[in-house]
């Protein structure tokens, strides 16, 4: 499915969502729409770290940026793919798998680097995170 078709599908879903939550005091419809507009207007952007999710969707905080990452990455015909990582002290992003991420988050156990298969040295739980990529066709 092309990116354009995915955007169109999400746009229709958001119209339905806006209708359903129209009487509720707050919802994420606007930030989801902001993100979809950003993706449509910037087809050359494919890498979406959390800082970019936050600004593209005009979120008020990082919690809302998590909602954006979740909404556009789950289910069929998702727009984003999530890669879990560890932000090392030297500024590099080390890829880790999803199960390691959950285990490290819950139990503070050092995750294993995807590339080397070795546990990360000097592990600091607050340096866990993820980034997203636009799903290619």
């Amino acid at each position: 499915m092309s990116i354009e078709s995915r955007i169109k599908e999400y746009s229709a879903r958001l119209d339905r969502l806006a209708e359903r939550l129209k009487d509720e005091d707050s919802s994420n419809v606007n930030i989801y729409r902001n993100f979809l507009t950003f993706v449509s207007d910037n087809p050359d952007h494919t890498y979406y770290p959390i800082t970019k999710l936050l600004t593209a969707a005009k979120c008020k905080d990082a919690n809302q940026a998590l909602d954006v990452a979740n909404y556009f990455s789950v289910g069929r015909n998702a727009l984003l793919n999530v890669t879990f990582c560890y932000f090392d002290f030297d500024g590099t992003d080390i890829r880790i798998d999803r199960e390691c991420f959950i285990d490290s988050l819950n139990n503070n156990t050092p995750p294993v680097e995807d590339e080397t298969g070795y546990p990360i040295d000097n592990f600091e739980p607050s340096r866990l995170g993820f980034y997203c990529n636009l799903i290619s066709e």
């Binding site: 939550l21 419809v29 959390i50 998590l66 932000f87 607050s126």
Partner: protein, 277 residues
């Protein structure tokens, strides 16, 4: 906000809410049924809390409207949530994510037998190969804690349940006994528990009971003087009184009924009654 990616995650991980959301995102990426159920139940718990934050509105809403809001909130979390889906009848809520599906029936807690009707619809009409399903219970009367505990006791096999089964048609009694005999329950928190049932087909199912306390009766001056609030409360109280009476062997509490009718009709001029309204 000029924070780096790592700094933003550091802030998120330092709060229970942020940490929980990160876990949910990671689990949602997994295509396992149990992970789907875990995350769905955690999200429903959050949605029910949010629902209670707007109980001033939902107190006067009907069952379908409340379920509609829950479906909307689930869609907001990325699920495909539909209401009144056809499946041997109309299922109140169907939730899908990727290959996984979960269904639930909703009921306003007017009485234990009313809630039981919802559970029986779920277990004798809608579930097929499901391992988990849900019962959404909306409580519009005071003492929600007692209502929930009472419902759990009822389900665990009190006399009320036995008399409910005894009063059913003989052709469904065997099935009811299969489903409702020796029900095991497990508390999850003050607002939810799960029950395990043997189905007629021979397999078993776990039903998660989610309860929303939507009782709203503000005692401050503006709340107390609101005509709409008084009337909505009176209608809810009358419905509760009527359905509770149907479940009990006690005589009807006509004094209570008159009290609620007085609240409903306090400002009414009988000459203005129009049957079209």
């Amino acid at each position: 906000m000029n924070k780096t990616d790592q700094e933003l995650f550091e802030v998120l991980i330092s709060t229970p809410e942020g940490k929980k959301k990160l876990q949910q995102i990671a689990k949602s990426c997994e295509n396992h049924y149990n992970a789907f159920i875990d995350v769905l139940y955690a999200r429903l718990d959050t949605i029910f809390k949010k629902l209670e934050d707007s109980r001033d509105k939902h107190f006067s809403h009907d069952e379908d409207s409340i379920t509609g809001v829950i479906a909307g909130r689930l869609e907001e979390a990325g699920y495909i949530a539909t209401e009144q889906t056809k499946k041997n009848g109309a299922v109140d809520l169907t939730v899908q994510l990727g290959d996984h599906k979960w269904i639930a029936e909703a009921k306003i807690a007017y009485s234990n037998s009313k809630i039981l009707e919802g559970l029986l619809q779920l277990l004798t009409r809608y579930v097929t190969r499901d391992e988990h399903a849900g019962l959404l219970v909306y409580i519009k009367k005071n003492n929600s804690k007692m209502v929930l505990e009472d419902w759990k006791r009822y389900l665990e096999g009190c006399d009320g349940l036995k008399s409910y089964i005894a009063n059913k048609n003989p052709e469904v009694k065997d099935d009811l006994e299969c489903i409702l005999n020796n029900v095991e329950t497990t508390d999850i928190n003050n607002f939810s528990f799960n029950s395990k049932h043997n189905l007629v087909c021979g397999s078993s199912i776990k039903v998660q009971h989610f309860c929303a306390d939507l009782y709203f009766n503000p005692a401050d001056i503006s709340g107390n003087s609101s005509k709409k609030q008084r009337k909505d409360n009176a209608i809810n109280n009358l419905a509760n009184l009527y359905f509770e009476h149907l479940d009990s062997n006690n005589s009807f509490d006509s004094n209570k009924c008159i009290e609620f009718l007085e609240r409903l009709f306090r400002d009414l001029d009988p000459d203005d009654i129009s049957l079209d309204e």
